[in-house]
């Protein structure tokens, strides 16, 4: 079974703590192994999210002089990225990151999809949806 859900970055440690508590309170080895597997999947997702975020911020830093670059930064109003960059380069940047972190990604980021991004978080989200 595949269960997909979204949580905020600051809620991730809470979920890990909850799984640790569950591990301590369970005695059945089979149940313990199952919870351990869930925990490792969650940790893997958290790491992947951080990898994408770091890649995006590093790539965008070559196109703007504004610092710091935060996940909430507005691409055009906050980082002064040009209309030309949004229309012609952002989708290429997304696809380079996508290929580097997931060679077997399911689809590519389109020019139109990338052009709709308004914040760094939007870029992270659009890459995640294509992995």
């Amino acid at each position: 079974m595949k269960i997909h859900f979204e949580i905020e970055a600051n809620e991730a440690p809470l979920l890990i703590n909850a799984l640790d508590l569950a591990l301590q309170s369970v005695n059945n080895p089979a149940h313990k192994a199952s919870i351990q597997k869930i925990k490792s999947e969650v940790v893997s997702d958290i790491n992947a999210d951080q990898v994408i975020r770091n890649n995006v911020i590093s790539a965008i830093s070559h196109w703007t002089k504004v610092r710091p670059i935060l996940t909430t930064s507005n691409l055009r109003f906050g980082l002064s990225l040009t209309k030309g960059f949004m229309q012609n380069h952002l989708h290429q940047l997304c696809n380079k990151i996508l290929i580097s972190i997931s060679p077997n990604h399911k689809s590519k980021v389109s020019r139109e999809g990338a052009n709709k991004c308004e914040t760094i978080q939007d870029i992270i989200n659009i890459i995640q949806t294509n992995i």
């Binding site: 196109w63 002089k65 507005n74 209309k83 012609n88 380069h89």
Partner: protein, 300 residues
């Protein structure tokens, strides 16, 4: 009206069927800057028999294919409708044609890009005498962009298409600005009129940082000025269709979620002639409702 609605629905269905396809509703596709502007709609039906109804519309419906044949090339089938019964020299123009857009990127450190915007349209001026109002209009424009950063800080502030100053500066609490410029050629077949075009656009976003925090709308207040200088390069003395064109818009707009478009209200001032929509020399103010919609079949 029913026919237009049918065409809109038809466009939407096709756009949702094919990948890399989108439907855009804007002001006009001929002008690169105006392409991104919302369509104008305003009407006022009078109860008094002695005064006529008022109708203002500058609308363009485009069916756009992205990345066709060549990477970055977009091709649009466009239907435009320009009507104004409010002004002294009324206009009512319907147009049908093709728009082609292709950026040419120069792979230097600042990523200088030249964007070509070419149009070929059949135009029908419904107010002209029989036959005289039908013409082909062909135009091509070049707009420069710098996509990357420039080494010089001062020049960085002057990059076309960049919103400056950025929100880390105190000045961004007061105002942010953006400007674009370009030039090209326009040819009107019926009058054998070749016109040179140089244009610039300045957009001001007052209190954009504060509005982003309060309303989550960075472009809620928008002040925009457009300047176009047209020069007649033929012996045809249609001076009333060339010359200086100036317009400004002061308005508020609300962006719909997921970049689906926007709605707004604006005070517009127009001064000059625009041969592409058969508007001869005149100046007027108008208050308009504006809307821009973009339906894409591929949101990835």
């Amino acid at each position: 009206m029913l026919l237009r609605l049918t065409i809109i629905v038809y466009f939407c269905v096709i756009a949702q069927t094919f990948a890399q396809l989108k439907v855009e509703l804007g002001e006009t596709f001929s002008d690169k800057h105006k392409r991104n502007e919302p369509a104008i709609v305003y009407f006022n039906f009078q109860n008094n028999d002695t005064t006529s109804d008022t109708f203002v519309a500058d609308m363009a419906l485009g069916l756009t294919f992205e990345d066709v044949i060549w990477n970055g090339l977009s091709l649009s089938f466009v239907s435009e409708w320009h009507r104004n019964t409010q002004i002294k020299n009324k206009r009512h123009v319907q147009q049908l044609g093709l728009n082609l857009k292709k950026p040419f990127d120069f792979q230097n450190s600042s990523h200088f890009t030249l964007e070509l915007n070419a149009n070929g349209k059949y135009s029908h001026d419904l107010r002209a005498t029989e036959g005289a109002g039908e013409t082909g209009i062909y135009s091509a424009y070049i707009n420069p962009y710098w996509s990357g950063v420039l080494p010089n800080n001062f020049l960085n502030y002057l990059r076309p298409g960049a919103i400056m100053p950025d929100t880390t500066t105190k000045a961004s609490y007061i105002i942010q600005y953006e400007y674009l410029f370009g030039g090209g050629l326009e040819y009107i077949k019926h009058d054998d009129l070749l016109i040179g075009n140089v244009n610039a656009q300045l957009i001001l976003y007052p209190a954009s940082k504060a509005l982003a925090r309060l309303l989550n709308q960075t472009e809620f207040i928008k002040i925009q000025a457009n300047i176009t200088e047209r020069t007649n390069h033929t012996n045809n003395d249609s001076l009333e269709l060339s010359g200086f064109f100036f317009s400004y818009q002061i308005g508020v707009q609300y962006k719909l979620p997921d970049k689906k478009g926007l709605i707004g209200l604006s005070l517009d001032y127009i001064n000059g002639a625009n041969p592409l929509i058969a508007q001869i020399e005149q100046n007027y103010h108008q208050v308009t409702i504006k809307t821009k919609l973009s339906l894409s079949s591929n949101n990835k």
